[in-house]
């Protein structure tokens, strides 16, 4: 491994580099703490490799611009935080409805509203799932350390292309602004999924929204031989608006099934010491760093703790959680919000009464002590 691959950089910069590694062609964004560094880094790096960067006039137009660019065949990304993500919801819904691959990074800060811009939280988990109106599905991923940020970001682009969907990367201010050692992989080390384009010839009927047998939807770039319509209205397989019940039902089923039915394939997670764990910690994002510290620390003292670190938050990996927690006496969900993923864990396991929450939402990074205190309470030992 050459020395030049080893870097000591912020998580935000890792994310930007990973996007470039994945083939990013176009970024549109707007400054907002704590995500601004992603835009700044790409403003410099993208034109170096012939890509396009634009700072748009607001968050909404940033999201719209990347959708337009994606339809010309580019791999695209935008980055923001709480208030900006709220603004983008209508356009994210448009990308869901029109099945346009794109990646949206949310470097979470304390909310709601202006909140606490320079401090992290994990308060946007539910918004990432349900922020756009209407029934829909979406893929949301996260990571707790820089090496994983790199891999998960590349994975996000791959999933976006495979399923023709927006993918939200839910990072947070802590991991975004922390500097840590990361090894940038060599080209080819992480496989990339390229844009699947239709092989249907010009003049032959092309259906942009009719899935192939393997479920994939070949695309056609604006400017090439197939002229079709893209609309946020419910539409037929050629992209033209329709209000026919069978078309509305069919499209909505397709949009949700293509993701929910593949929850197993989309699930990414890491496990530590789960085989013999009596009590399991479940966490994600920077909280998982504290959780892992507790597990390593307490195991050295003979406690049988384990950690399930989730990297895919939506579609929620219910089956993984159910299976891994079967034998545990207690499960503690650790997150920096008032309890968002814990609800999903309770729904997933066979004994919801053994699920506990160790959380913090005052703008301070959850500490190992916070987690240990909860473990003591569960054991009946108080703090």
């Amino acid at each position: 491994m050459s020395k030049k691959n080893v870097k000591f950089i912020q998580g935000n910069e890792v994310c930007a580099e990973a996007a470039i590694y994945a083939g990013l062609d176009f970024f549109a964004g707007y400054p907002i703490t704590p995500s601004t560094e992603i835009a700044e880094h790409l403003a410099k790096r993208l034109p170096q490799r012939g890509g396009h960067f634009i700072q748009m006039e607001d968050e909404i137009s940033s999201m719209c611009a990347i959708i337009g660019a994606s339809l010309t065949g580019s791999k695209v990304m935008t980055a923001s935080s709480g208030p900006g993500i709220s603004l983008k919801q209508e356009a994210i819904g448009y990308a869901v409805m029109t099945e346009v691959p794109c990646v949206i990074v949310n470097v979470q800060r304390g909310g709601p509203s202006t909140g606490i811009p320079t401090h992290g939280s994990q308060g946007d988990v539910m918004q990432a799932r349900w922020g756009c109106h209407g029934d829909h599905s979406i893929v949301v991923m996260t990571a707790s350390n820089h090496q994983d940020i790199f891999e998960i970001t590349v994975e996000a682009f791959n999933i976006a292309e495979t399923y023709r969907t927006p993918v939200i990367l839910l990072f947070d201010e802590i991991v975004g602004h922390t500097r840590e050692r990361v090894v940038i992989p060599e080209p080819g080390e992480i496989p990339l999924v390229e844009r699947l384009r239709t092989s249907v010839k010009g003049g032959v009927d092309y259906h942009p929204y009719l899935p192939r047998e393997d479920g994939r939807l070949p695309m056609s770039d604006f400017g090439s031989v197939h002229r079709y319509n893209v609309t946020g209205l419910f539409h037929d397989m050629w992209g033209f608006p329709s209000t026919k019940p069978e078309i509305v039902y069919g499209l909505l089923r397709h949009l949700t099934d293509k993701i929910e039915n593949r929850a197993g394939q989309i699930a990414r997670y890491k496990e530590y010491y789960l085989e013999d764990a009596e009590r399991i910690l479940i966490s994600y994002g920077s909280s998982a760093r504290s959780a892992l510290h507790v597990v390593e620390n307490r195991r050295a003292r003979g406690e049988c703790l384990g950690l399930l670190e989730l990297q895919t938050l939506w579609p929620f990996p219910s089956e993984v959680v159910r299976r891994k927690c079967l034998k545990a006496e207690a499960v503690v969900v650790i997150e920096m919000n008032m309890g968002q993923i814990v609800q999903e864990v309770k729904k997933a396991v066979e004994q919801p009464e053994k699920i506990f929450l160790a959380n913090r939402f005052d703008g301070v990074f959850i500490t190992p002590m916070d987690i240990i205190n909860i473990l003591r309470v569960i054991k009946g030992k108080g703090v």
Binding site: D25, F26, A28, K44, P47, Q48, R49, G50, H52, I54, M56, E57, D58, I60, S61, S62, C64, A65, I66, I67, G68, A69, S70, L71, T72, G73, S74, V76, E90, A91, Y94, D221, F222, G223, S224, V225, R227, Y228, N229, V230, T231, G232, L233, F240, P241
Partner: protein, 267 residues
């Protein structure tokens, strides 16, 4: 008609009301495209939401029916990543100047090579006749049942102030001029705005004693005049038609190409 080559005929008759000016805008636009001899594959039409926005479904180009007010934002992404495409953006008055006002201002400020056609019927037609920022004082609409109290602004002046390098205005009565202005707007390399006054006999006309579609077009004839005409000097209330701004200034995508060149050299 050769222009029928450019439409998706299977969707005709279109959804616009009898006499709707937007149909005339479509007619004029197709003639401009025909005059230019453009290939259908090189055109992307991006529209927002509203009666105006439905135009994109009827043309046999790459078409994108987006979100209310945001067409120019989508179009910016398309044009920047594929500058060789010809991007045409028809919008309504509310679409472009109310919810879309900010994107209109900045697309003009960037002078990005997009052709914006503002189909101004001074009303929100599709939702049933609410007033728009272009309605004007006294106009009756469903949300101004006692008459509108706020003033419209001048789209041409907005475009000029924001930095658009080609700005023109005409009406559906002046269909030949509309074709010519659209043609010039498309050729122009930079942000082009063509405002076309378009009659809405059903939502605007009926509530404001507009008369029939033809009568509304007659008022476009009597209430407008070429830029700088003698009639305008005698009656300042007349609305001027023609080309207000036409200048050759750096275009956004070309300038960004220079950035790419510079960045790659520094590597």
């Amino acid at each position: 008609m050769a222009i029928k080559d450019y439409i998706r005929g299977r969707f005709f008759p279109h959804m616009w009301c009898p006499g709707c000016g937007h149909g005339i805008v479509l007619n004029s636009l197709l003639r401009a495209v025909e005059k230019l001899g453009m290939s259908k594959n090189e055109i992307v039409m991006v529209s927002g939401i509203g009666c105006s926005a439905r135009i994109s479904g009827y043309v046999d180009f790459h078409s994108m029916h987006t979100l209310h007010g945001r067409a120019l934002a989508f179009a910016t992404g398309i044009k920047m990543s594929r500058p060789g495409l010809n991007v045409i953006v028809p919008m309504g008055d509310g679409d472009a100047m109310a919810i879309g006002g900010n994107h209109f201002i900045h697309a003009a400020r960037r002078n990005i090579d997009i052709t914006a056609i503002v189909m101004n019927n001074r009303i929100y037609g599709m939702t049933g006749g609410q007033y728009s920022p272009l309605s004007g004082v006294g106009v009756m609409a469903t949300t101004t049942p006692y008459g509108n109290i706020d003033h419209e602004f001048d789209i041409v002046e907005m475009a000029r102030a924001a930095g658009a390098s080609f700005v023109a205005r005409t009406t559906t009565y002046h269909a030949k001029q509309a074709t010519d202005l659209i043609r010039q707007a498309i050729i122009h390399e930079g942000f082009s705005v063509v405002e076309i006054l378009s009659q809405c006999p059903v939502q605007f006309g009926r509530r404001n004693k507009g008369g029939s579609a033809a009568e509304m077009m007659e008022t476009y004839k009597t209430n407008t005049t070429p830029i700088g005409s003698k009639a305008k000097k005698e009656n300042s209330d007349l609305i001027e038609r023609g080309i207000f701004v036409q200048k050759d200034i750096p275009e956004y995508c070309n300038e960004y190409d220079k950035i790419i060149e510079q960045a790659m050299k520094g590597q």
